[in-house]
Symmetry: C2
Subunit: 353 residues, 2 copies
């Protein structure tokens, strides 16, 4: 029998907290009978709602906090003023060993700042990063960094690749995941100094994954690799562009089905199949971005998600604790880390789109 | 009555050249009766096919070339060895004043290298860029740079904004287009030094467009602005990611409609509406990327497009010639160019996704 996993929840984080958090936790409980939850937040709001879920209440403990972090609070402010907030105390619980992981649907910048301040960057890692799955034709691909670092060195990119591989290994259950470096072309001379230098380092060393070389933007949804490593500026732009594009596409489709009686009837007939299709790109199924590279695991849920999405983020968190995520990254890096070399003398090449 | 516009065509560029080129030119001819075409390529292949289109043949001149640039040829090689190629001679025709614009569906890297070498960068512009339209909820948004420059300074970004605005003014017919700078957040302190510095310069000077400040990836398909300026690395990644995402989405939809009799029947009923929806994101309608910032206009068509897509690229080319695109950029820059200031002292802020 496996031992219990303890999860610290920022019960006040998210657009519909704490109700959404409790509903999500109830779904997660039914899927993970060994999970135990510490709910940080306003007991007066949590307790009455939690009482509706009798079996959930048995595996939850409420840790009352007066304070919570606002959605628009600056990270620096959240750090200074939020020392008794539900988010901060939930992160503290990981640091103090009361929980194996923290999950919050609150302010992303605040969660990153607090997690980094409290948990500290793990040895051998220079910069923590944000990773999450994208939907692809073949399943799911992990992409990082999604915005924690707006400027990255070649060494950062190499570390992102290692952390992304550890993430994919646990979440996808693949022993040697494939990792690609996002670039403007696949040839070795393509891109800027940073990517080319990272590419050389990844080609030269075995970090316990298959380095697939450079990949391009279209390879993400193609599912060419299990992990895509890129700097936080590009990763953030790519993530949000794809979110915007998917949402536009779904709306265009909805409008098409509402234009006239035959279309509406057509929709009714195709509805079950279309629902299965929607499920393949349902953002809730990809909910749960992980702040990686710290001495402890911090999971960010979308603020606007519902219970099903929140349960997914909790699921990611539980997998990472069980897979000993932090230890695994450390082991990979200690085994094989090298300092990236300067790139060869060839001139940089522009993209050939 | 307007005077004729002369267009130089690389008749050998593209996966299905020269037939596709001739079919596309025939469509463009019917839409633009004043256009005249110079077809550069193998006369033995062009002439027999062109003869099938009697009215088109009357407005075309074939310029025979023995040589053509291969799809996989390196740009440097194309420059050295391709001096008598259909692509090179078509670009030369613009330089020599025989044509107002060149269109090619051939090797992108080669076209960029040859266009830059032959036409030269225009005064006041440091780096030419690649621009094209993306589909949005509200219509179309021009995005640049799509990959000509893998590393960009703040000054480059400011110039991209000016060139993109001139492009949108002509193609969208908007007097004062709105321009946004792609970043990881909308607040002034977000991003790296380069974007923040470009943001300051754009806020401080009136370049003849409305600077909308920073925008995020999701704003592209949202249609928040008419023009999105970004570095060529990010622009290329965003373009290809969205192309991959759209193609995945369309395939998922196709699979959904093929799964069982009711879905197939539903598809038949909804087909007209779904076709209108597909038309809104049809890549052919967005075909025609323009290499901007040169003393002459060079338009790149997708290599795999069909006649309808190629005709669209020719349409973009004709609009730019009629709108005196190159002169307009020059005028905007001479009117108001400033050297970007160093950014304020605040520390860079990471993304809050």
């Amino acid at each position: 029998m496996t031992s219990s996993v303890y999860i610290a929840l920022d019960a006040m984080g998210g657009d519909h907290a704490p109700e959404m958090v409790i509903e999500g936790t109830e779904i997660a409980r039914s899927q993970h009978p060994d999970a135990r939850f510490l709910l940080f937040g306003d007991e007066n709001r949590i307790a009455p709602y939690l009482a509706r879920f009798r079996r959930l209440a048995e595996v939850c403990e409420i840790r009352h906090t007066e304070q919570s972090i606002a959605a628009d609070e600056k990270p620096s402010q959240a750090l200074r003023r939020g020392q008794e907030s539900s988010m901060r105390l939930a992160v503290d619980a990981v640091k103090e060993g009361f929980a194996g992981v923290v999950v919050s649907a609150g302010n992303t910048g605040a969660l990153m700042a607090i997690s980094k301040f409290v948990l500290k960057t793990q040895p051998s890692i220079d910069r923590p990063a944000m990773v999450s799955f994208f939907p692809t034709r073949k399943g799911r691909t992990a992409v990082l960094d999604l915005g924690a670092n707006v400027e990255c060195s070649a060494g950062n990119l190499v570390q992102f690749a290692v952390m992304g591989a550890a993430f994919a290994r646990i979440e996808l259950g693949i022993d040697r995941p494939t990792v690609g470096l996002l670039n403007v072309g696949v040839e070795e001379l393509k891109g800027n100094d940073t990517v080319r230098s990272a590419g050389e380092a990844l080609r030269d060393v075995d970090f316990g994954f298959e380095f697939a070389g450079f990949i391009e933007g279209n390879d993400i949804c193609e599912g060419t690799v299990d992990v895509v490593a890129t700097d936080g500026f590009t990763g953030n732009a790519v993530l949000k562009t794809l979110e915007g594009g998917s949402s536009m596409f779904v709306d265009f489709m909805r409008q098409a089905f509402q234009s006239g009686i035959p279309s509406k009837l057509g929709y009714l007939l195709a509805r079950p199949a279309l629902r299965r299709m929607r499920a393949r790109i349902d953002p809730r199924a990809y909910n749960g971005a992980v702040f990686v590279g710290l001495n402890g695991i911090s999971v960010k849920s979308h603020g606007g998600t519902d219970g099903a999405g929140y349960a997914n983020a909790i699921g990611v968190a539980i997998d990472l604790v069980r897979g000993r995520f932090t230890e695994r990254i450390q082991a990979d890096l200690e085994k094989s880390y090298v300092i990236p070399q300067e790139p060869a003398d060839e001139a940089p090449q522009a993209a050939v789109s």
